[in-house]
């Protein structure tokens, strides 16, 4: 759906994007990660023909960008950094106006499509109010509605959850997952790891303009060969496992073992009451920090104490071992 080769953008002496080779496939939920200022927005703007590349090539939906941008854009819904709207017009009027601008916004289906988009993002009740009176979250929803009005095949979303409250983030995630199930390919950029981890199937990591990693998330999150064991009798467990315990934190043990089932059998045989047993995988945070060398503070990583376990998806252990790394 999106392919770039050696894509480079220079602003004067600053190299914002360096030889990036994106590969977004049909049906992906692709998350482009990178700290603030890593070139995500510039890259997104180049995909949409707003910023011209210094060198390299871009192909979106099989067409070359920016040459055939007019053919491609009608099939793309985009949210480019903050949403923008005409403040004195209502949300509905804004959508109608944007749909009327440019080709392919069929007038006959406009009302239906606008209604649907407002419904999808949960703005149906307030669509007649002027955008001036909208909250930040409502503007963000309106921006997403504007991206959906044309019923695109591909969504390109730059920081889509900006300004949304937890409920809004969840709504957004459900909406995007649902659209993806209907066949819409999703490409989003974010500096929020939990968001990407919960939503995306494939990730790319941008660091100071260069794409340092790109792969399926599942493949990246291989088991680490460690299992997190929680038990009421840690003493007995340590004794039974004899040297395999890497770390102990109260009733929780980090155990070196390639096979959780085998480990479980061994513990049960030794009479250890196992409360829970979890195969440890690398978290997205580990993966990203390993390849970028960026400090965790540059990402929107939840700090200790407010870790949002639910948004970390099923794959993460959220274990103590994943934090506190240098």
């Amino acid at each position: 759906m999106i392919t770039t080769e050696n894509l480079t953008k220079r602003f004067g002496r600053v190299q914002a994007v360096r030889a990036v080779g994106l590969d977004v496939r049909e049906g992906d939920r692709y998350g482009l990660l990178g700290p603030n200022g890593s070139g995500k927005s510039t890259l997104v703007r180049m995909l949409l023909g707003l910023v011209y590349a210094t060198s390299g090539s871009i192909t979106v939906l099989g067409e070359s960008i920016p040459r055939h941008v007019g053919r491609v854009l009608p099939e793309i819904g985009a949210l480019i950094e903050e949403p923008a709207a005409y403040p004195h017009l209502s949300g509905r009027a804004n959508l109608r106006l944007l749909d009327a601008a440019g080709p392919h916004g069929s007038r006959r289906s406009r009302r239906r499509r606008v209604d649907d988009a407002l419904e999808q993002v949960g703005l149906a009740g307030v669509d007649r109010r002027p955008v001036r009176a909208y909250s930040l979250g409502m503007r963000q929803r309106l921006g997403l509605a504007a991206a959906l009005v044309r019923r695109p095949r591909l969504l390109i979303l730059d920081e889509p959850t900006n300004g949304l409250d937890p409920r809004g983030i969840r709504d957004m995630r459900d909406l995007l997952t649902g659209l993806n199930a209907e066949g819409v390919t999703i490409f989003l950029s974010s500096h929020l790891l939990p968001e990407v981890s919960a939503l995306c199937t494939r990730i790319g990591v941008l660091d100071t303009g260069a794409l340092v990693l790109q792969d399926q998330l599942a493949a990246l999150q291989q088991p680490t060969g460690r299992v997190l064991v929680s038990t009421d009798d840690p003493e007995r467990a340590v004794a039974a496992l004899d040297g395999l315990v890497e770390r102990r934190d109260g009733a929780d043990l980090v155990v070196r073992s390639p096979d959780p089932a085998q480990l479980n059998a061994r513990l049960v045989a030794a009479g250890v009451p196992v409360r829970s047993l979890l195969e440890q995988r690398r978290t997205l945070e580990d993966i990203v920090l390993e390849v970028t060398g960026a400090g965790a503070d540059q990402f929107g990583v939840p700090g200790p104490g407010n870790g949002d376990g639910s948004s970390d998806g099923g794959g993460d252990t959220d274990g103590a071992s994943s934090r506190g790394d240098p």
């Binding site: 510039t42 949409l48 011209y52 985009a78 480019i80 005409y86 106006l97 916004g105 504007a146």
Partner: protein, 298 residues
């Protein structure tokens, strides 16, 4: 896209506010004159004012002369200066272009929208000032008719009327040259003047749109345009600059007055149209060259 731009223009409160302000100036002037009965002496003050003071129906011409030098160009410069830079500042530009709206198409739509604004303002001034003229200054005072001596062509001072009563109100209206105009002729000539003034503002609009593609500040684009116009006005009156005067954007702004001569004095009117066409082509071309290859980073 043109429809969209016109819709945006019509739905924008600023459009109507600025037009209301432009229309208010002639109204205020008319009220002062009606209250004090002090007429500016012929040849001083704004063009037409002394000439039409006794002919309420001709007040639209005086009103246009009042708003033309400052109010109208300022309003046009503000609206046109906002055209691209305003969308860039508010962030809506990137969404329009990603829709996609072609960049060339957007520029043309903006020029059409600014022209529509100008035409709207000119029509509004004409209509309100006609009503003002008839209601406040009154057609009954129309008296300075064909009897006025002088009628030196090429001078707008010639039509200062002495209130010699004689003809019936509204029966005839004097041209600047002293010859009477029929009502139909008056309407034709007012329409001609309106068209000419609207076209005169196209050059302003093109300059402002060009600056609007360069700057991301709507205010900067508007002020830059005004600076150009002020400079042009200064040079127009400077004898030493006579070599460049025929090419200045404001040089023929007042040529519409020639519509009110008998017969119409076409030469400057034609020059005025031509020079505006040149400005539109040059500056819209420059705007296009700049905008078509510009990185949209706002």
């Amino acid at each position: 896209m043109i429809t969209v731009e016109l819709f945006k223009l019509v739905r924008r409160p600023r459009t109507w506010l600025s037009i209301a302000m432009i229309c208010a100036l002639p109204l205020v002037v008319a009220i002062f004159i009606a209250v004090t009965h002090l007429e500016p002496p012929p040849g001083s003050g704004s063009a037409f004012l002394s000439a039409v003071i006794n002919q309420g129906q001709l007040y639209p011409a005086a009103a246009l002369a009042l708003v033309l030098p400052v109010f109208l160009p300022v309003a046009v410069a503000v609206v046109a200066g906002d055209s691209i830079a305003g969308e860039a500042t508010s962030g809506t530009l990137r969404y329009l272009l990603a829709r996609p709206v072609g960049r060339t198409r957007l520029l043309v739509a903006k020029l059409v929208s600014v022209s529509a604004f100008t035409a709207l303002a000119v029509v509004a001034v004409t209509v309100t000032s006609y009503a003002t003229g008839v209601l406040i200054l009154g057609p009954s005072r129309a008296a300075a008719v064909g009897a006025v001596p002088g009628g030196v062509s090429g001078s707008i001072t010639s039509a200062g009327g002495s209130p010699t009563a004689g003809l019936q109100a509204g029966a005839a209206i004097t041209s600047l040259s002293g010859a009477p105009l029929t009502y139909l002729e008056l309407v034709e000539r007012v329409l001609g003047a309106m068209a000419f003034i609207t076209v005169s503002m196209l050059g302003v609009a093109a300059i402002a749109i060009f600056l609007s593609t360069i700057s991301d500040s709507p205010l900067g684009a508007a002020l830059g345009t005004l600076a150009v116009l002020v400079a042009s006005e200064v040079l127009v009156t400077l004898n030493a600059a006579s070599a460049v005067q025929p090419y200045l954007p404001t040089r023929y702004w007042l040529a519409w007055i020639d519509f009110f001569r008998q017969p119409i004095f076409w030469r400057d009117i034609q020059h005025g149209f031509a020079i505006q066409a040149v400005y539109v082509v040059v500056f819209l071309g420059a705007a296009w060259a700049n905008f078509a290859t510009k990185d949209i980073t706002t």
